[in-house]
């Protein structure tokens, strides 16, 4: 299969050394109710044939708009490319008619999007969606297109392609859908594939598979790849060259090695420092870039990064051009030479890790043999049972942070909901400060709800859009009569806002007027208003940009020290969990796989699943990443309706044997304080 595709490719490939894509001085703007937003300003770069270019930046930096500008897929009514040239394979894309551009899309340039769950049409078969471009661009007959679709599905690793051709997207998992998207992208042998956050919505083990596949195919078929991402680890592993974007402009550009090891722009330096990393000792505090990216509708003159830059000088009020750097790249910083000479370094604070200390050995929360089963299907029909949580036990001490990691569908959020008493457990007990929640009185439950608070993942949908920040934070004060007096309540709201690093004027604002990080701070202030002793943080920082994520984590740690709070920190990002937790629980498919204190778990993981997880997470260092063996995890999460017999991980485990398919391994203490549910270790 691969050979035939390869042959087709070599025939098409022109031997010239011209760059495949030239983007020159691109300006894209949006007309919005807030005025003209210049989303991309003066962006220039080239992509060679077969090269992998990564565009990195935080949300709103203009990276996706750049991609959509190349494809000319921007919303017609509001967006306009006001200046610049885009030359692809010798043709100027901005001068083409709509019809000529349509011929290039899918044929010359293909694009893969972020959300595999919504990027495929739910009411059309997978087969139709893959064959569509084949029929349009290559004029294939039905049979030819079907044969080619089967070939493509095999190529991207979809098992049983013939049988799955007539299925619909909802019958595929997220990872499989992204494979389908890649198959569609590859269908007509494009010369360039643009992948916009292709793995952001996927679990880390699936992410590794998809990226490995894309890189492999682009090498084999000599397809150039533009990967747009905020994940620096992904960039380090796969990119030849990197563009760092900040506030609609290119901040730095260079080879992956240069940008990662010798960044020449303070923003790249800060970005690299603010990522919690698995390959380095945990610092006392996460580095952050203070402040927020500028509002593009009212962008300040001069260097865009200056308001947040610790090395700002008078000259930064003038717009810096892109200077060539000593590493062969470009940097938009007046002081790039000083950075190169080593005169400026991002303040290092790796220091000694300060552990938060549990204030008592008596557990605050004690979970024993907790199970939660959901029945699927209505009462009229025979339905299956989904064992979302099965036999989970752990303790949390006062003032402690317990990390709970696992991929989607592992039951970690259900555990959080059970503790919050939002779901009733099927069996098992939850004791909070000595009170058993299952037979607590109404009064006990009310006290409990006050002591246990939650911070949710999505700061966009977890705040009521019609309430002001002050009302949101003040509501629990009224409900629980914590501060009955109105003026005192206002004072308390102001105090809470200051504690989470917001100005007191924010109380008048509505959630949509705040940025993601600010909203998450409001969520924290709302939780603090109840004076809790325990907070469940359910993916509390996953939706935030790297630099903002660091700010929130630091805030959570600071509040913990100040008030002796205990956290259950639920997350899928291993590096973040490592940074904040004292002990870590690893869950898979509803069960606990491993429990250990943080350093032990990350240094000497015992359970093969933990090893696989740690191995699958890329670290932001090209030297380490490029020298690494291809990743070993295979397969996908099994179906909850047909759980595997024996150890739940046996279907994907590299060391599974017949015994693993028969015995459910108990969670045993393998070393002091180190528990694992595996019979092989």
């Amino acid at each position: 299969m691969v050979e035939s595709v390869l042959k087709a490719k070599t025939r098409n490939a022109a031997p010239d050394t011209e760059p495949l894509l030239v983007v020159d001085n691109l300006h894209t703007q949006f007309n919005t109710s807030r005025g003209i937003v210049r989303a991309v300003e003066g962006v220039s770069f080239t992509v060679k044939r077969g090269e992998v270019l990564a565009i990195v930046g935080e949300s709103g930096s203009g990276k996706s708009v750049t991609a959509l500008s190349i494809m000319r897929l921007l919303p017609r009514q509001s967006a306009r490319i006001s200046e610049g040239r885009i030359i692809f394979d010798g043709r100027s894309l901005l001068d083409l008619s709509d019809e000529q551009m349509r011929e290039i899309r899918g044929r010359g340039i293909a694009m893969i999007f972020q959300e595999p769950m919504t990027s495929l049409n739910p009411i059309l078969t997978i087969g139709l969606q893959i064959t569509e471009p084949l029929k349009i661009h290559l004029g294939m007959s039905d049979e030819q297109a079907r044969a080619r679709a089967v070939e493509l599905m095999g190529l991207v690793g979809i098992p049983d392609p013939e049988g799955r051709l007539d299925q619909y997207p909802h019958q595929f998992s997220g990872g499989m859908r992204q494979r389908v998207m890649i198959a569609i992208g590859l269908a007509c042998n494009p010369k360039l594939i643009i992948a916009d956050e292709p793995t952001t919505a996927l679990d880390v083990t699936i992410q590794a598979q998809i990226l490995e596949l894309m890189k492999d195919l682009s090498r084999k078929l000599n397809i150039a790849l533009i990967i747009i991402t905020h994940n620096l680890g992904v960039v380090a592993r796969y990119a030849d060259r990197v563009i760092v974007m900040y506030a609609a402009r290119v901040a730095e550009q260079g080879s992956a090695d240069a940008v990662f090891h010798k960044p020449r722009h303070p923003y790249s330096m800060g970005l690299l420092r603010s990522v919690p990393r698995l390959d380095r000792p945990r610092g006392a505090k996460l580095e952050t870039i203070e402040g927020l990216p500028p509002n593009l509708a009212l962008a300040p003159p001069g260097c865009r990064f200056a308001p947040r830059c610790p090395y700002k000088i008078a000259m930064c009020e003038q717009e810096p051009p892109l200077f060539p750097t000593d590493t062969g790249g470009f940097s938009r910083c007046h002081r790039h030479a000083e950075i190169a000479a080593g005169k400026i370094t991002w303040a290092a604070a790796e220091g000694k890790a300060v552990n938060t200390v549990a204030t008592s050995v008596e557990p605050l929360l004690s979970v024993r043999n907790l199970s939660k089963h959901f029945s699927v299907g209505g009462r009229l029909h025979k339905g299956g049972v989904v064992r979302a949580v099965e036999d989970v036990s752990f303790d949390i001490l006062p003032g402690e942070t317990l990390g709970l990691v696992g991929e989607s569908g592992c039951g970690k959020t259900t555990v959080g909901r059970l503790i919050l008493h939002l779901e009733k457990p099927t069996s098992g007990s939850i004791r909070l400060a000595g009170i058993d929640l299952a037979n607590a009185t109404a009064a006990d439950l009310k006290t409990m709800r006050r002591k246990v608070q939650v911070i949710f993942q999505d700061p966009y949908s977890s705040l009521n859009p019609r309430m002001t920040v002050g009302q949101i934070i003040g509501e629990p004060l009224h409900v629980y009569d914590i501060v009955p007096d109105r003026t005192k309540a206002t004072a308390r709201i102001a105090e809470l806002l200051e504690q989470v690093g917001l100005r007191r004027e924010m109380a008048e604002r509505y959630p949509h007027q705040l940025s993601g990080g600010q909203r998450q701070r409001v969520g924290i202030a709302r939780a603090l208003a109840m004076e809790p002793s325990f907070i469940v943080c359910d993916e509390a920082v996953s939706a935030l940009d790297v630099s903002i994520q660091g700010q929130i984590i630091n805030l959570l740690e600071e509040l913990q020290r100040k008030y002796g709070l205990a956290y259950l920190f639920i997350a899928h990002d291993l590096a973040v969990v490592r940074h904040i937790s004292m002990r870590v629980v690893v869950m898979y498919f509803g069960r606990i796989m491993e429990v250990a204190d943080r350093d032990t778990l990350y240094r000497e993981p015992l359970h093969p699943y933990t090893k696989v997880l740690l191995d699958a997470a890329p670290v932001p260092d090209p030297t380490i990443e490029k020298g690494r063996e291809p990743r070993l995890i295979k397969g996908e999460l099994p179906s909850h309706l047909a759980p595997p017999a024996g150890c739940v991980f046996n279907t994907r485990c590299p060391m599974a044997t017949q015994e693993c398919r028969e015995v459910v391994p108990p969670l045993e203490q393998k070393k002091s304080g180190h528990y694992a549910a595996c019979i092989k270790v």
Partner: protein, 317 residues
Amino acid sequence: MLRYTINRVLLMIPTLLGVAVLVFFMLRVVPGDVVEIKLRGDGGNVSQETIELERKRMGLDKPFVSQFGDWMIGMATLDLGKSMWTERPVIEEISLRLELSLQVAIMATIIAVLIAIPLGTAAALFRDTWIDYVVRIVTIGGLSIPSFWFGMLIMLTLLGLFNWLPPITFTPIYVDPVANLTQLIWPAMAVGYRYCAVVSRMIRSSLLEVMNEDYIRTARAKGVYEKVVISRHALRNALLPAITVIGLEFTFLIGGLVVTEQVFNLNGIGQLFVQSVSRNDFTLIQGMVMLIAAFYVFVNLIIDLLYAVFDPRIRYE
């Protein structure tokens, strides 16, 4: 799917039973009596005895519960009883008018859907341009102008321009299609306008939503022709919510056209309803309410099943 359908059909029974209880006992609470209206309505001087005799003959002297029981037993054998006024079987009375009402409803639906799909689509695709504005004016007109008044406009126009009015006697379509259509096309248009306005606004808004979906962007990124993007990828998804509206509007037209029927002098279900209510013709009212209720439940089932046909994510198992 079959199992689901059977379940749903069985679930219709308690729903209809509830309707039966409600309508039966609510009617008995309403003051007035069919026998008195029938015998004394025109000022006739009839003795109380005659009235009691007549009541006895019609079984109105029995206790409510036993009357209800009789009615239920009749319904179980598909016998809705006899009209208390004309003494003809209820089924016969209804079926005479149902043919006409059903035909008007079907024609109105066809007219509405045929116009609404292109209208709503154009409005969505040319959002905030003059096309959208024109469509908006037309549809808001449809929503705000009462159907009977629009019907009167149609009649006056026909009279003024052609000095012609549609026939007032109903000829079934299988007897004389031309005569049938010349009579019914006008009321179908009158109610179809509102219907079309409702559906096209629905299509416009759901199409606008669908056009922002990620899979539309994917289709464009594949280089699919724009007209295929719209017809295959967008419109098919956008029509799903419109199906619900079409079904609900359709059932409304059966029995909901009281005034419009008056304007066009049609002898339809709406007319019969008004007549039987003013005569306190209990059995006929009950029969019609049951018929319309059954229609609602049935059309809703059809809508749900249609959803499963159009949307592969919905599978009733």
